[in-house]
Amino acid sequence: MARFDSLLDVCGDTPLIGLPRLSPAVPDGAPPVRLWAKLEDRNPTGSVKDRAAMYMVRAAEADGRLRPGATILEPTSGNTGISLAMVAKLRGYRLVCVMPENVSTERIQLLRMYGAEIIFSPAAGGSNQAVATAKQIAAEHPDWIMLYQYGNEANARAHYETTGPELLRDLPTLTHFVAGLGTTGTLMGTGRYLREKNPDVQIIAAEPRYGELVYGLRNIDEGYVPELYDASVLTRRFSVGTRDAVLRTRQLVDVEGLFVGFSTGAVAHAALAVAHEAAKTGRAADVAFLVADAGWKYLSTGAYTGTLNDAETALEGQLWA
């Protein structure tokens, strides 16, 4: 069906498309190795985060934390803020985002368009500065609600109940699922569902490796691991640098006509690695990876054109995923 009562009802059920040109070639008669992309940019605000935002808001409404007119506070560097801004608008909440200055200008414009208020923390201070800013705001406004996507079970549940079942429905022969690791919600929820249905399925994480300026940590003990993260759900975990992410992002447009954001380039890099391993060892594989968003929001970085060195420089110090 292609008719919906409102934008909130059109979330999920995204297309899964084959990538025959990018999939590794195998000799005649050898088991096929196929790559598939799940297009989460086909959600209401153009990213996978719409699923989590809807689930988290509905859960908070159901347990009485969110009441009409409430203010939601969200420290975010991007897509979650945009998703929440749309859901908040339609459900009658106010959204305040705390974000670093070093995110792309499109994200800031989108948030403002959807009616979110933005408080910036200086890029130079990295996470520490963001922590200080968010703490101060929260202390001044104790009645504001934080949905805390890193520890909110509704985030992972959105994927357990929707992304996972959709993948298996569309690709019953799926052998590998690859996605980006941020809040870990996508991988935890989808991974648990797929593992329950097929214990042999491989769940693979790709995390962006930023330039060190972005981290801004003073020592190891200031690290963070999201509460949602459970390493036992994963089979493997890859760290993907800016150069590889940009290279794959460009390859996806060039070879398959798929225009994605840089985090998806990182995910495709890991997906290609496992697909080529399968091809080399003569094993059949259906590798599905998740396209978290399209490239529109990142055009202003300039990293889609020019040399790889220029692109790396352009993304240096940016939160590109």
Partner: protein
């Protein structure tokens, strides 16, 4: 040939400021012991007193997380690149800020 080890900014005080150093060993455990000989104290920042990998440290062999390759037993060969990073994941910014607000 040796193993190329990338050191994060916050641990470069142990390597005299070097961003990348060379080490040797057949697995991660041996490599860290070898590095500690040249850069005393480095291993102690990565390994807990109980002998496991520090919770907020991620180590990658050729971009793959060693926790899924046998942790300290992860095999390493000459020519490999080992990357040490603080655990902050992709959502570093929001997570740090949100967790702090909630006092976690």
């Amino acid at each position: 040939m040796a193993i190329d080890v990338r050191i994060p900014t916050i641990l470069r005080s142990y390597t005299g400021g070097a961003k990348a150093v060379s080490g040797a060993g057949d697995n991660l455990s041996e490599l860290l012991a070898n590095l500690d000989g040249t850069y005393p104290g480095l291993r102690g920042r990565l390994i807990t007193p109980e002998g496991g990998l520090h919770r907020f440290v991620n180590i990658y062999v050729n971009d793959e997380d060693v926790r899924f390759l046998g942790s300290l037993d992860a095999k390493i060969s000459d020519g490999d690149t080992v990357t040490i990073l603080p655990a902050v994941a992709g959502g570093a910014f929001g997570l740090a800020a949100a967790a702090a607000v909630l006092g976690r």
